[in-house]
């Protein structure tokens, strides 16, 4: 039944009737639009979930033909086939890990952009941090040794030696001067 037909049939006389008609019209339009949307939206929504998961998984996987591209961005035939495989497995309800394992079984760790942490890949994962620690250690030792050298310098440097000698010389000069004046006064007294 068309909403307009309903309004005509109600014969709008007063405000109340008009309000009722509007409510009916809104209801009719509301049910119309939601029911028509629901028919299209349902398959679209489930597809979107699958596609989103596909992109999420495929971004972590390497295309084997064009090796610097991810499986999600590559247009190689094989990438397309592999995406189809991943899609199929998502629909089957496999977990992300199961799907990745499926590809690793066939193509090796190379397909993973983020290699698994295992003894074989320890050097890869922890190597940079180990290098950093070694570098820090070397730096600390170097600083410590330099400080030790500076302290030693304060005690045995040529300069402090010179100062000592200079003081010693001045003392000697002073002694000589005192001796000289003493002998001079003695001579004067005599």
């Amino acid at each position: 039944m068309s909403p307009l037909f309903l309004i005509q049939k109600l014969k709008i006389n007063g405000v109340q009737n008009f309000l009722w008609a509007s409510v009916l019209l809104l209801l009719a339009l509301g049910t119309c639009s939601t029911s028509s949307l629901a028919k299209e939206a349902e398959p679209l929504a489930s597809d979107e979930v699958v596609e989103a998961r596909l992109v999420h998984i495929a971004e972590e996987l390497r295309c084997l033909v064009c090796q610097n591209e991810s499986l999600s961005s590559s247009r190689a035939d094989l990438a397309e086939d592999l995406r189809a495989q991943v899609r199929e497995q998502i629909i089957k309800g496999k977990t992300d890990q199961e799907i990745k394992d499926y590809l690793v079984e066939r193509y090796g760790d190379f397909v993973l952009y983020r290699p698994a942490v295992k003894p074989m890949t320890w050097l890869l994962w922890f190597g940079p941090f180990a290098c950093l620690l070694i570098a820090l250690g070397v730096l600390l030792i170097a600083i410590k040794r330099r400080n030790e050298k500076i302290q030693v310098k304060e005690f045995t440097s040529d300069q402090s030696h010179d100062v000592g000698q200079w003081v010693h010389m001045q003392e000697q000069k002073a002694d000589q001067f005192i001796n000289a004046t003493e002998t001079h006064t003695k001579k004067l007294k005599d």
Binding site: L64, Q67, D81, R106, G108
Partner: protein
Amino acid sequence: MKKFLIPLVLFGVLVLFLAVGLKRDPHEIPSPLINKAAPDFSLQTLTGTAPFSPQDLKGKVWMLNVWATWCVSCREEHPVLVAFSKQIGVPIVGLSYKEIQPQDDPEKKLSTEALLKLARSRGSVWLERHGNPYTLSVMDLDGRVGIDYGVYGVPETYIIDKNGVIRYKQIGPVTPQTLSETIIPIIKGLENS
């Protein structure tokens, strides 16, 4: 004095690693399937005989060669394989990999049967023209078996032992050199074991 040698030695080690890395082909991805059971399948043959499965060759050392008529490197490899098939008695099974490419049927109008028929006629014509080294050839139209075997570029060749275990994978065309240096010694070793 000796301290100056430490960075020099480290630099030498780095150069050595880089030099080795330069010589390796990044397109040769080591297969995780080596020393694992060859994935099972059952596929239609090129000639239309009974479907073939790797089980049929249990107890024999055999080769699986992935090929296609659209594959340029296969043409380079083919005469080597033809000569090899006459020289040595191991069965060579051809895996006709995705003979019909997406651009051959862009609107996906053709039925599976029509695709199989087209692939068979193309493959047969090609083998007639260039020689047939295969004991038989199987049709992997959608490339699913190829994925199971970790195929990512045609041609590829697998050596499978008497127990159905993959022992070697050759990525790229088989050359007279790889045949004499690698493939034939491996096959002889497996046949004697």
